[in-house]
């Protein structure tokens, strides 16, 4: 079992493996998982809408589309805006990046504010039957993700002020940007389900 001469190296070349760059893979995998929770909620929404004997709570015939539509346009536009912010970062235009990034955060915050206004004007609650429950669950969870996105963006903004953070920071910005697009896509599906399919 043991070789006779333990000092023979046999022209040995040590093998190496890269240990960086895993974060993006991990984050993408995580996002796929997150999307399945939403997917489960969407399926639940669809099934309940089609099979429940009574869908809308009493006195409600649907939900208004106008304000949510404005919110939607703002949110979708913010996805384009964040793309330009990323491009600015690539070009190493730090102040360009910071200002466009901040604009994205403001658009996201407007969306949250708009959601809050819509909630406060609705006449049904979480407990109002199946529709009430699903409406607040879906929009609430989505809103939670939007707020998380804004907080993460704030973190990235703060980090952009740290000296010499450029190399490490780019990965974080890419991830948060991806998260923002994810939040956007979820909203588009949600909007279709709740507001368009009535």
């Amino acid at each position: 079992m043991l070789s006779e001469n333990k000092n023979i190296i046999l022209n040995h070349k040590p093998g190496h493996v890269k240990h960086d760059g895993h974060n993006m893979t991990g984050f993408i995998i995580f996002l796929c998982s997150e999307s399945i929770i939403f997917f489960a909620f969407f399926v639940g929404y669809g099934i309940l809408k089609v099979t429940a004997p009574v869908w809308y709570p009493e006195g409600i015939e649907g939900v208004a589309i106008k304000e949510p539509l404005i919110n939607t346009i703002i949110l979708i536009s913010s996805s384009f805006v964040i793309y330009f912010a990323e491009k600015a970062l690539h070009k190493k235009n730090l102040w360009g990046f910071r200002s466009i990034w901040l604009l994205t955060m403001l658009m996201g915050s407007y969306f949250v504010y708009g959601q809050y206004v819509e909630w406060s004007e609705l006449s049904f609650s979480l407990q109002s039957g199946v529709f009430g429950g699903m409406f607040y669950l879906l929009t609430g969870f989505h809103g939670l993700h939007v707020i998380t996105g804004i907080l993460l963006m704030g973190l990235m903004l703060y980090r952009s002020f740290l000296p010499n953070n450029y190399k490490g920071g780019e990965m974080g910005v890419e991830s948060v940007s991806l998260f923002w697009h994810f939040v956007d896509v979820i909203w588009i599906i949600l909007f279709g389900l709740i507001y368009l399919w009535q």
Binding site: P14, I47, Q127
Partner: protein
Amino acid sequence: MTTTNYDQRLVKTKNPYPRGPNDWKRFFSFNTDAKVIGIQYIVTSLFFLLFGGLLGMLVRGELITPPSDLFDPTVYNGLYTMHGTVMLFLFLFPMLSGLTNLLVPPMIGAPDMAFPKLNALAFWLVPVFSIILLLSFFVPGGPASSGWWSYPPISIQNPLGKLINGEMLWITAISLSGVSSIMGAVNFVTTIIRMRAPGMGFFKMPIFIWTVLAAQLLQLLGLPALTGGAIMLFFDLTFGTSFFRIEGGGDPVLFQHFFWFYSHPAVYVMVLPVFGIFSELFPVYSRKPLFGYKFVAVASFGITILSLVVWVHHMFYTGTPLWMRNLFMFTTMLIAVPTGVKVFAWIATLWGGNIRLSTPMLFCLGGLFNFIFGGITGVMLATVPVDIHVGNTYFVVAHFHYIIFNTIAFGIFAGIYHWFPKFTGRMFYEGLGKVHFALTFIGATLNWLPLHWAGLLGMPRRVASYDPEFAIWNVIASIGAFILGVASIPFILNMVSSWVRGKSAPPNPWKAIGLEWLLPSPPPHENFEEDIPTVLNEPYCYGLDKPFVQDEQFYIDKSYKRH
């Protein structure tokens, strides 16, 4: 019968931890080394195996007589619910996470997992949700008592009307368990995809890695559905929503869909790593290549994909339409095919081998034997007419315990014994191991084999009392359960005393092929560190002229160097 010849110079070494600090305290800290985290998971889960086993013995104590004479039925309901929950979420999943943590980095030649801090965080969630779950015994009204499925409306009845109740804590604990598992899954999948040794393409990976990858992908795809359902259940229970509450127009069967969409793949998450363990151990103890490596590897993914489309077979009689039952019967039957491929491959691996019946091999053989039986009863359950008769009876209980305990737990024991020398640096006591196997096999068979007949005759499951005609089966089963309880004694004795004062273990006591066997026992903090072997072939080439890695002798010699 099974001693191996190893280097006598190593037997007397006092300190088997030359690299890592020989400090027991590292197991109680936020340590990011996957090997430490693995052992943390494993030991924690073994405590819960004992606790879950105790609950199981209490259940069987009640069931040894037809009337409900040991506990109040509400207590019985809480006990069996917690038995199932503890066994699944506090023993099985953490145990498998632990074995995976321990084995994946060395087996693929990685220094650690892709996200070590996330790994440690995922582990430390386990004590958190375990405590939450155990606290539920002490809240007014007792713990969750609606079975581990927690179907509404029974699970959301909340008789005492309290905000903090057993069911609420149960849902919280299960959700946190899901979070921990998803963290683990992200980690494992990233590690396996990105951190393999040079030369280790997918078709040179050990089968254990294949099955872990398959299982963790299932976790990623399935767990969120359960989490979604659990959130909705929580809202119904705590905030009075009506997702599953008929008073508001909800649908109880919808919960069942959410629940089983995950929980069916969950059973494959549990069994796939154990299939991996069997695939690793049979070649070693028969000293033969694994038969049909490529087929076995691909079959793991066949099982994964199919397991996502069979969930309704848990709902054949719960209010699903006939077309759905027929469809899912067909998909369920299909899963038998890749599973059969694996079983036949193992038997073919044994054929013509040089069989060594050491403790790990005994557990593998016992597990395989039981699995063939359990798999056949599974195919019976897949056919709708039979399932309508025996569903929700003790036939199902017997079937799934045959898989969960008589196959999966056997495989886990086999794995623990097999890799014990590698990761603790000590040899275990073979004699005690064999006693453990004998008692476990006898106890497990006595416990669950008779219950098949109780179920066929119509004894429902989850009952605290039953008609007297079922008595004989239950008496035999309870005796088996108590034997199983006794069987844990040689196991605990073996583990503790071997780790503390067992013989020092050489790097490769079983003369097995694998990257982990090219490391010292126990491996240093970063496994191969900067010098990772280049893999040339898959690790099953016993007797073939196909070397495993380049410069194999160099690494073998290096593994003997202790400093």
